[in-house]
């Protein structure tokens, strides 16, 4: 007894656009948290290569904690834990979710950015130095733009995941897609049906994102990066094994 009528209603007939609104919440939280996560990740990645060892330790411990513990706990630490310590610190739901997601994403992005910076041929930094560029300028003008090409595919994965992970926000009552399905479904026991509705929206969001990602990838690939990365990236495996005759 699957309530197709309910699926149909919430997809196409709902005058309140309940799920459209929920998708909007999912989307903006994901976008903002991902953006902050990228910036944080860059800072952490640079800290981990710093000469000043306390920077390295702080960045290391940060990454250890945020990658090692569940995001749910991180959200609840802000939502339930923080007010237990500082009674006045009653962050609203969206703030708890946004902060926890951003901090968490920063830890994951730092690993990605670190690997990407490392993949830029060392000759590029040397050439920049030899032309008299100070470290900061060389990073900004030469290294980071080239690292972008390697960052974008895993960043795309992260963002894809992020949109689905926002479902954790429903634990503290934020009505994104999964939470909406649960709250609207629980009254008459059609949670499963409404999760299917939510899934349609998720698939829509992730599919659109896939196209955007492809487009960004092409944009950051004008004059491909160094030869080493080129050889790795350029010839896709399919191209190469396709040549195998018979």
């Amino acid at each position: 007894m699957f309530r197709w009528d309910q699926v149909w209603y919430y997809l196409f007939q709902d005058p309140n656009f309940t799920f459209l609104q929920a998708a909007w919440i999912t989307l903006w939280i994901s976008v903002v948290a991902q953006a902050i996560g990228v910036v944080l990740g860059l800072i952490l990645a640079l800290m981990r290569t710093a000469k000043f060892s306390p920077f390295r330790w702080i960045a290391g411990a940060y990454t250890w904690f945020f990658r090692g513990s569940p995001l749910l706990v991180q959200v609840l630490l802000l939502w339930t834990g923080l007010p237990k310590v500082i009674p006045m610190a009653l962050l609203p739901q969206w703030a708890c979710v946004l902060i926890a997601f951003s901090l968490n994403e920063g830890a994951y992005m730092s690993e990605i950015i670190r690997a990407a910076l490392g993949s830029v041929d060392s000759g590029q930094m040397e050439a920049a130095k030899a032309l008299g560029m100070p470290y900061g300028l060389a990073m900004r003008r030469i290294i980071i733009p080239q690292a972008m090409r390697v960052i974008i595919p895993p960043l795309g994965n992260e963002f894809n995941n992020m949109m689905k992970t926002t479902s954790i926000a429903s634990v503290i009552g934020l009505m994104e897609l999964a939470g909406t399905a649960q709250v609207y479904g629980a009254q008459i026991f059609i949670t499963f049906e409404l999760l299917i509705v939510a899934t349609v929206y998720y698939l829509l969001l992730t599919t659109i994102w896939e196209f955007i990602q492809r487009w960004i990838e092409r944009r950051f690939d004008p004059g491909r990066t160094n030869v080493a990365v080129d050889e790795v990236m350029q010839k896709s495996f399919s191209q190469r094994v396709a040549g195998f005759g018979g």
């Binding site: 008299g132 560029m133 300028l137 090409r149």
Partner: protein, 267 residues
Amino acid sequence: MTLEKLDNSPQNASNGPMVRTEQLVKRFGSNLVLNGVDFTVDRGQTVVIIGPSGSGKTTLLRCINHLEKIDSGRIFIDGQMVGYREQNGKIVEDSEKNIARMRAQVGFVFQRFNLFAHMTALENIIEAPIHVLRQPKDEVIERARVLLDKVGLANKEDAYPHRLSGGQQQRVAIARALAMNPKLMLFDEATSALDPELVGEVLKVMRQLAEEGMTMVVVTHEMGFARDVADHVIFMDKAQIVEQGSPQQIFNEAQNERTRSFLSRVL
């Protein structure tokens, strides 16, 4: 952090040699790579360094513009100490800003070109003059076009590095270095990553530079080039300068056994 009002014009030249090293020592771990190297490059001279693989040629060039720190000794470019300064009688490493300022006056051409992969030929050339020397963009572009023409690539200004042959990339790299108006150019096996047929076009550009009076230090395996163009040839082996002199002295009248055996293998 960029360097403003850098005077890269040739007027501020003093009178001593352009490059002078004193008892240069460089180790990688326990591996002694430069074992007390003294040498001098006079203004307008082309000095060619030859020697077997691993003898320290690349390391010497890299020390000159402080891409490697040195363990002891001193290097002077145009009378100024490189990479270090005296402070209360002790020698300390110079500030990042000063080192960058010094490097901006020295062109370095790498074996593997190292063009900025995300920029066109023209963008590669104008990047540092605009962002390091803070020169006006229009002027820089104009000069960059003249340089591209000089290295025979006037029609390639919009090409990205991966669309250029090795020889073309190397010529863009030379133009990029020249766009900074350097007082000194360092070449590290600028042709050894090229197909044999492409070597000629790069050597031609280097030869022309030498004729125009640029001060150059050139590490190369092209003995023909060394013989024709060098004012002075240095033979290095096992972290030391073994022998030096005019091309005639080195190629035809080498005194040292190691020099002779090396030359017999590569000529």
